[in-house]
Symmetry: C2
Subunit: 248 residues, 2 copies
DNA sequence: GAGTTCACGATTGTAAACAATTTTTGTCAA
DNA sequence: TTGACAAAAATTGTTTACAATCGTGAACTC
């Protein structure tokens, strides 16, 4: 039963733990659990409403119940997981209103963000973004679904990271994560989050220090994503079984 | 010893728990502990680097150690508390770099935020802001230090809340909290965070639907706050004892 | 056959005991 | 007096056991 939770989908893909961290302080190692579940959600391997049982996670990660509980609490504070009293933790399932709020928040933050990047571009960080786009391209070429999804979101996270501002990076990271959940829930056609070359164009505009263009491209990019959603889609009906079977 | 932690400064001031909540889901009641400590930090009754011992908090709130631990974990995930392995929880102590990042983040977010509010003002929420300013005035008239400090920060939080966007509200809340820590650390003169009537002017500009003016006023308001700081101030030396004695 | 009730198993919440680490205290020597 | 060392106390981290709650399924009634 439930192979996603029992370790299969969570334990693989530890390869990409090099650069994509943002905000977790190196306090202890329950951050590893958080990171793993976080990635699984980002890559849409864990569908909304999936139950994350304590026992299952304990077995999966080989840690005590305390660690798992603390990890779940952290995830819930980031809005990735819903903690229902006495009935466990479930992958968050944003509703229509929350989805709109997420996009509204991104529309508020990201335009000034790219403007700022275009105004005083930071050599180093922009190189990272160029590398990132190369990764996206190869992933698309090889048609790796989960990788494409994760990298699509991560582009925006890295955009925020390249400001060098910890707080901006963390805020964007949260918004991007929720966007991933939303696209998984309401994404209608096969357009896995981001159209092909829009990221490239945005980065180009930044590198050529054209704030107006960069902002315009970003806004329409976000609009494309939002317009690709069908807000009347599955919503509530998705129960655990369907989610799991559908994702494999 | 340490009357701040032992319940004195934390247990009073439960009067203001009506309107000022933002993001905490009503999961359980450890949020009450979080809320109390949060307020104490906001009002600068808990100085940075103050140790928050588990035993002390247990006595103060009359709850088990588990609850306290979970509350501290949540506070640390919000950057209000630093968890040092095997040596306990301390009120966060932002350094110069973090302080700059906080203001940079606010400079990025708040201008478009007030622009948006000025463009389509939301009757209801603006009334709340008007009420709030009245509160600020009376607090200033009666010279209540902690109240002034808290309300000064809360104005910005409520500004964000009045967008009706949960995510924007939460982000601002975090930034404002850290600002309060920063002002407590680096605030030089007696100017308790916010000059007197700048909030009023900003709100007026919003209500008269003048986005440009609102943005300009807000930017200079933030600059005033930042310029009122002495970045070379106490920094590290402040140890627990001094902090506690100094704040009473 | 549909719906309700009850009991059992499974899962989560809490408290207490234990282990490990840190901080303090006291002693001794230079 | 100062410094180093060691033992004791206090604090935090973890495991374990226990209590409470929830979900499931069988038995029962209508």
């Amino acid at each position: 039963m439930n192979s996603i939770v029992e370790g299969h989908n969570l334990s693989i893909k530890t390869q990409s733990n090099d650069q994509n961290e943002t905000s977790f302080s190196p306090e202890s190692d329950e951050n590893l659990i958080v990171e793993r579940i976080y990635n699984a959600v980002m890559e849409q391997r864990l569908a909304p409403r999936t139950k994350l049982s304590e026992a299952g996670l304990c077995k999966t990660f080989g840690v005590g119940r305390m660690r798992v509980r603390r990890a779940l609490l952290l995830l819930s504070s980031q809005g990735i997981v819903d903690l229902r009293s006495n009935r466990g933790a479930y992958v968050a399932c944003p509703n229509k209103a929350e989805a709109n709020d997420v996009f509204a928040a991104r529309m508020l933050i990201e335009p000034p963000l790219v403007r700022q990047l275009a105004q005083n571009p930071n050599g180093n960080s922009l190189d990272l973004l160029t590398e990132h786009i190369a990764l996206e391209d190869t992933a698309r070429a090889q048609n790796e679904r989960t990788e494409i999804i994760r990298l699509s979101g991560e582009f925006h996270t890295k955009l925020a990271q390249s400001t060098g501002n910890k707080f901006i990076a963390r805020m964007m990271r949260e918004l991007v994560t929720r966007t991933s959940l939303i696209v998984g829930l309401f994404g209608s056609s096969k357009n896995a989050s981001c159209p092909d070359d829009e990221h490239t164009n945005i980065l180009d505009a930044i590198q050529s220090q054209n704030p107006d263009l960069a902002e315009r491209l970003l806004v329409s990019h976000l609009e494309h994503i939002q317009n690709g959603l069908d807000m009347e889609a599955l919503q509530e009906p998705q129960n655990d079984l369907a989610a799991i079977l559908g994702s494999n």
